[in-house]
């Protein structure tokens, strides 16, 4: 084996050996230097100063409909339409997704456990980090490629062909009060596995978790109906759907009649990113639109129990990931009874408490509003998502660029058995693709940009909810403080010395 491959394998095995117990994190080493203090202060100041830009520029413009943003329907371009809706492409992607899922499970179960293995790199870096960023910056492909959905569809098709007309769905009534709390629970569990569980990088554990989650998801889909469960119980469908709201693409059904009776679409937003309606609509009713980024987060949302909680758990999860590597967290764990596991629960609770407090303040300053407290809480939660996405990119993009290269050699030898299927097994990862100076500036720029988008979104949400520019502006003071706090936390983490 090539020296660098040995080194990479050693890095992994060394993570497995638990040589750094504090870093239970599922990834290899980071090469980033924390941003210097002056730049941290500059970023914080820039976030505060720039906060006034969207407020000042848009304060007198009341937007009557959140749906009024520029759109370009890609399906109107015949050649694009042909390619994008061809069964070869969509079917191929679904097949590829299931194949990758199976490779992960097989590599996890029978592949080399200490070192070269496809499962950890693919799941933690390519899928979890890479696919998340793809969902946020290109579009949410998860409803198309979700391997559990594809497997369920296949099984369903098979069963129907065998003569069982009813298919696999029992369609038991879903307890509506439960809302998307099951997805919140699974997401929290996932965050715990990612950040706290020390065996998160062990291939066999990954395979077992994947199989266990498959059982739950397939059972949920069969029991409550496929779409019902995916929308409420599948943490990943909810998660990628949330990121997809930020994306510069959307699917939309032109004819609102298609969506009658569908519980997935927003009330007055039209049928946007509801893949159930999209799939059942006639081809000429479908649109695949380019749109300005982040506008999807400002669209009206149905208030589901657990809806705001899920968003806040995502925001906290992203922060928790970075917080674990800071000296402050080490001190907290050393001096208080708080453990890593307890932190996985406490941080989201803390975030949720602070968030609800600020929402109430904002409501008081804005003079109330129709729909009650939870409507506000559900709507404003989305406005914070750009800050979390910006932090996630800033935190992980160098990782994806450097550690992600491991996948090139891993596809040739997924099980670590010394194969060379595609002749790339000896590919050497390149370090230093981006210099540390560039990393610093880009991290700060990303976070400040995310902050400005968040301020803009919160303001347009307040205009929608309060329908009065003056009250909307007043209601934004607490939200502004909340966003500055969250942005500064993100910057602060990036400026912390890395401890292991």
């Amino acid at each position: 084996m090539h020296a660098s491959r040995v080194a990479a394998a050693l890095t992994l095995s060394f993570l497995l050996a638990g040589a750094r117990p504090a870093l239970a994190h599922g990834f290899g080493p980071t090469y980033d230097i924390p941003i210097p203090l002056w730049l941290y202060l500059y970023g914080a100041a820039a976030a505060v100063v720039l906060s006034f830009l969207p407020l000042a520029l848009f304060s007198r413009k009341e937007r009557d409909s959140p749906n009024r943003y520029p759109r370009l329907d890609l399906f109107r371009i015949p050649s694009l339409r042909k390619v994008l809706s061809s069964r070869l492409l969509t079917g191929g992607l679904r097949l590829l997704s299931v194949a990758l899922f199976l490779v992960v499970v097989i590599a996890g179960l029978v592949g080399l456990q200490s070192g070269f293995n496809f499962a950890p790199t693919f799941v933690w870096i390519i899928w979890w980090v890479g696919f998340s960023l793809f969902s946020a910056f290109v579009g949410n492909l998860w409803p198309l490629v979700n391997p559990w959905r594809v497997l369920f569809d296949w099984a369903e098709g098979l069963v129907r062909r065998l003569g069982y007309r009813d298919g696999l769905e029992l369609d038991e009534p879903y307890p509506e009060a439960l809302g998307i709390w099951p997805a919140v629970g699974f997401y929290l569990t996932f965050v715990w596995i990612e950040n706290v569980f020390s065996g998160s990088y062990v291939p066999r554990n990954i395979a077992l978790f994947a199989l266990g989650y498959s059982l739950i998801t397939l059972y949920g889909m069969a029991f409550f109906g496929k779409e019902t469960w995916l929308r409420r119980g599948d943490a990943f469908s909810v998660f990628f759907g949330l990121l997809g709201r930020f994306a510069p693409t959307e699917v939309r059904v032109k004819n609102p009649d298609v969506c009658l009776g569908c519980d997935g679409c927003g009330d007055d937003a039209g049928c946007v990113n509801c893949y159930e309606c999209f799939a059942s609509a006639a081809p000429e009713e479908r649109e695949l639109n380019l749109r300005p980024p982040a506008v999807g987060l400002g669209l009206p949302e149905k208030v589901t129990p657990g809806g705001a909680a899920f968003v806040i758990v995502v925001l906290a999860g992203v922060t928790f990931d970075g917080l674990l590597e800071t000296p402050l967290w080490l001190e907290i764990v050393r001096l208080t009874p708080v453990t890593q596991t307890l932190g996985t629960i406490l941080l989201p609770l803390l975030f949720f408490g602070i968030y609800l407090g600020f929402v109430e303040l904002s409501r008081i300053l804005g003079g109330g509003g129709e729909g009650g407290f939870w409507r506000f809480a559900a709507a404003y939660a989305f406005s914070l998502v750009p800050i979390a996405i910006a932090y996630q990119v800033a935190h992980y993009y160098t990782y994806l660029l450097v550690q992600g290269q491991m996948i090139v050699s891993l596809v040739s030898d997924p099980l670590g058995w010394g194969w060379n299927l595609f002749g790339t097994a000896d590919f050497e990862p390149r370090y230093g693709i981006v210099g540390a100076g560039f990393v610093w500036y880009s991290q700060v720029a990303l976070i400040v940009a995310g902050h400005v988008i968040a301020v803009y979104l919160a303001h347009s949400i307040s205009l929608r909810l309060l329908r009065d520019p003056g009250r909307a502006l007043r209601s934004q003071l607490p939200m502004l403080v909340l966003m500055v706090l969250y942005t500064m936390t993100s910057l602060w983490i990036l400026a912390q010395p890395i401890v292991e």
């Binding site: 060394f14 090469y31 230097i33 202060l41 100063v49 000042a56 230093g432 540390a436 990393v439």
Partner: protein, 118 residues
Amino acid sequence: MARSVILIVVIVLILGGLFFLLRPDTPSGVPRDRTIAVSIEGGEMSPAEISVNEGDSVTLRVSSDRPMELHLHGYDVEGEVGPGQKASLRFEADLTGRFEIEDHASEKELGVLQVRPR
């Protein structure tokens, strides 16, 4: 309209001014030749964190109380060290970032090299 233009100009001025006010001078002028003595005792490297500037020509003179196979990540420089056998790790610090120094034999991290950008 005029108000928004004024606002944007003011914001650009504040941010530009702050940038030049806060930004420190670039670190210590020109790239230098640097020789740094590093000792490893009982698996602990001292100093635990080595800091150099981008472009420096670096030589790490490493001594250790135990035999080890040193490996510097990113630069992929290796050297054997042990009682009575010092190792010299030489490299041009052209990659910026944080790189681990580990012992290949025990797969244990000893410390980090930090190369700060210019």
